[in-house]
């Protein structure tokens, strides 16, 4: 019997941080490029997609609440299909960590640690995330719980602090230009990130009061969507869609507009540092899920010994992932989201097969 160590409150706080950190730090530039004024609408649609995907996962997890999907999946679709599918999910999560790590090192190398070898930065990031992942599931959720209010303050305070720079006439664009067609690329892109909450399936036996998971999912998805919109709107009103589209990290430029009196010229290194901590928590969780799945597939008793080797492998892959920002963007736009969607929807296949099997069994029993 697995100990129910993750509370609903912790889940709510963790997944809010999980979703918003990556979007606000790294995705806003892409989102504005794709949708401009329609981006907030895209965020809302993306959140709805995320909720639907997560709901499927929860519905499937509920059928065997005390067992791990990696274990019982083989009973549903046979071992020969189960293991390649699991390998695909592992690889996708692996790619997610690598992409995020690449983005971190790119941001730091561009603005703060120019000239530092990327492998050193990645090594330090890897040490942080693997150190947390080694402590197990409790660690990430507790960390998010402790960091939640501080993270939220840093996320909420930015739109407020830049309000003096807002060009309010640009706000008309939300009413006149926004369209669902324009919003769709953002929705598709962000839907995969909101859908990352479907990782709940892999940790479902650890969740206490699991019957409230759906309600919690709606709450954290809505809060995360609201937070993202609260950042998108000021960026569009302050920088305008054209300038914002051409910046790699428009959020960073917004932060640089903040003047905290005559004490500090800019707050961006501090805020970025705090956000990095949030991203580390997220990456630790994904790393934990990967090692957990892999250890179950390899029939190992503990997942702990796998964490450092997996992390080392991810770091090496990150170094080789892309040589420039352009190369990274072309790779990122070339189907990563689709890959993530597939990995998130694989459990749906299991769900359908499981339901069909059960029905057939019931029918057979009835006929007997």
């Amino acid at each position: 019997m697995t100990t129910k160590v993750v509370t609903q409150k912790q889940m709510y706080k963790y997944f809010t941080i999980h979703i918003i950190t990556t979007i606000i730090m790294f995705m806003i530039g892409i989102v504005l490029q794709q949708s401009g004024y329609s981006a907030p609408l895209g965020v809302l649609i993306g959140a709805c997609i995320g909720i639907v995907i997560t709901f499927f996962s929860i519905a499937f997890a509920k059928r065997r609440p005390d067992a791990f999907f990696v274990h019982y999946g083989a009973d549903i679709v046979t071992r020969w299909l189960h293991y390649p599918l699991m390998a695909f999910i592992i690889m996708t999560n692996f790619l997610l960590v690598a992409i995020n790590l690449w983005e971190i090192q790119d941001l730091l190398l561009q603005f703060y640690l120019t000239g530092t070898p990327s492998w050193i930065i990645l090594g330090l990031c890897g040490l942080c995330i693997s150190y947390m992942a080694r402590y197990g599931i409790k660690s990430m959720f507790r960390a998010a719980e402790g960091m939640f209010y501080l993270s939220m303050i840093t996320f909420i305070i930015i739109p407020y602090l830049v309000h003096s720079n807002m060009e309010w006439f640009l706000a008309r664009g939300f009413a006149t230009i926004a369209s669902v067609k324009e919003a769709w690329p953002t929705a598709y892109h962000l839907g995969s990130i909101f859908g990352e909450a479907s990782l709940i399936l892999y940790i479902y036996p650890y969740i206490s009061q699991a019957s409230y998971t759906r309600k919690t999912t709606i709450r954290f998805t809505m809060l995360a969507a609201l937070m993202v919109i609260c950042h998108l709107i000021p960026i569009l009103i302050v920088l305008g869609p054209d300038l914002a589209q051409n910046l790699n990290y428009p959020e960073l430029d917004i932060i640089r507009l903040i003047k905290s009196g005559s004490y500090l010229e800019t707050l961006d290194p501090i805020i970025i540092a705090l956000w990095l901590v949030s991203i580390f928590i997220k990456l630790s969780f994904i790393l934990f899920v990967i090692s957990h799945m892999l250890s179950r597939i390899l029939k190992l008793k503990y997942s702990k010994p796998l964490i450092y080797p997996i992390c080392a492998f991810i770091i090496v892959s990150t170094i080789c992932l892309a040589q420039s920002h352009t190369q990274f963007f072309s790779m990122h736009n070339g189907g990563v989201s689709t890959c993530v969607y597939i990995s998130q929807l694989i459990p749906l296949l299991y769900y359908v097969i499981d339901v069909m099997r059960n029905r057939r069994q019931q029918m057979e029993e009835e006929s007997l």
């Binding site: 703060y112 930065i121 330090l124 660690s139 960390a143 402790g146 290194p269 540092a273 990095l276 901590v277």
Partner: protein
Amino acid sequence: MKQEEKEKREKLVQLEQQNEQMQQQSQLEQLTQREQQDQQMKQDAMEQQESIASSPELAPRLEWFKLRLERVAEVVFHEFTVDYGHSCVLIYMSGMFDIKQAERNLLEPLLGKVFYMKDELTQYLFSRNQLPVTELHWVDRAADALQAILQGYGILLFQGEPRMLVLPYANYETRSIVEAPNETVLRGPREAFIEDIGVNISLLRRRIKSPLLKTEEYTFGRHTSTRVVLAYMEGICKDSLIHEVRRRISYLDIDGVLSSSQIEETITDRSSSPFTQIQYTERPDVVSSSILEGRVAILVDNTPIALLAPTTIFSKMQSSEDYYQNFVAATAIRYIRYLFLFISFLLPSFYIAISTFHAEMIPFRLLVTVASAREVVPFPALLEAFIMEISFEALREASVRIPKSIGQTVSIIGALIIGTAAVQAGIVSAAMVIIVSVTGIASFIIPSFDLGLSFRLMRFPLMLLAGTFGIFGIACGMFLIYTHALNLESFGVPYLTPMAPSNRDSAKDVWMRAPWWRMNERPSFAAPNNRNRQKKQARGWKLEQEDLE
């Protein structure tokens, strides 16, 4: 030919050496065998003698005690005869036993009477209401009697009586109760624990006059036989916690327990962590309030420090003064303490990071001032900070060790003269002196010495990270420390409770010092069925008054 001879000689030397080694080994083996045999014989003899010591005959028993206490200078064997002809021996350790009391309460009445029969004597001594001694008891086993003698009691032996009377007149010099030297307060009680465990328990009992205050006594240390007491409130403290403490200390088997830190390190959850997971205090009021919260206190004889478990990082940030002051002031001071905790931990690293990597953060005028001050300094900020911090730590350590009469002089020389000279010589910048001084002052604000020490130690790797990666390095360092602290537990209670995992009830006494009339419940680590501390309407009189008005 010569080579052959050489080889032969070498072989001969080798053979001789081997022979010598063999001989030495066999001699050693023989010696150890003999020693073992001797020890075995001694043990057998001791066992035989112990059986003799339990016999009613006085002479063999006395021999047994003399054999055991051979070459112990302070032992006294006072042999005397009670009328008519009943031989007795009083054995005690001089300096640990109050012989005057024994004379007044036992020897004088005993020698002033005449006992015609042996039964009369035993009746007189062993019936509780005959002698003017309240805690009179006796032992049957000679080993127990010996232990009693070593603890400062007197033992009275009689001819023809196997029972041995224990005289509870242990009396040795102890320090009197003085003001707590390391945890001073302005408004609260001044008393501190001393080295005598009996006095320390009485200090607790004076505050908690309840039969539910349990004090379980254990003895540890094969040679020291140190008394260790577990104190807790029955019904308030969780049974599982008491069992866990008992279970952990039961593993302690050591030759001597000389301080509470030995027990602390043995029973702590993770001893390799820089954060100590057991709280210690020298104040009986702190121990009493902790016990009333549902915690367990461990008192060790010969140590004026009590251990408290479980503990969290936040309970180490609370001072007993907080609970004696107005809650508004106490809350404000608590926030200042949290602020200075971060300053003591992060300020030097932050300065290094900003001056090395993020100069754009500093306003222009300040940047010019800092840069002009650093212009003459030949070292990078990291090295400069390391030099200053290590010097400061050395000064602090020296001030603890130096005799008090010259301590002040040294600290003035260290802080003022060397600091000023270093700045004037251009070895360090004035800004760095300010940073290090503020950090030093900030570290004194942390109420728990061991928590302050933990942060002081972790400051150095953080400075290194700041000097290498700037604020990003600090973030990574903080993340690693946070992760570590997050996963620490003190007897099953997470170290960062009530922040992570969050606990609203316990947070009342963490983020602010709630007024006493609002602290209705005990912290979460108390027994769940007994968390009510007081009636919910402690200030009901005010509502009543408002209704009347």
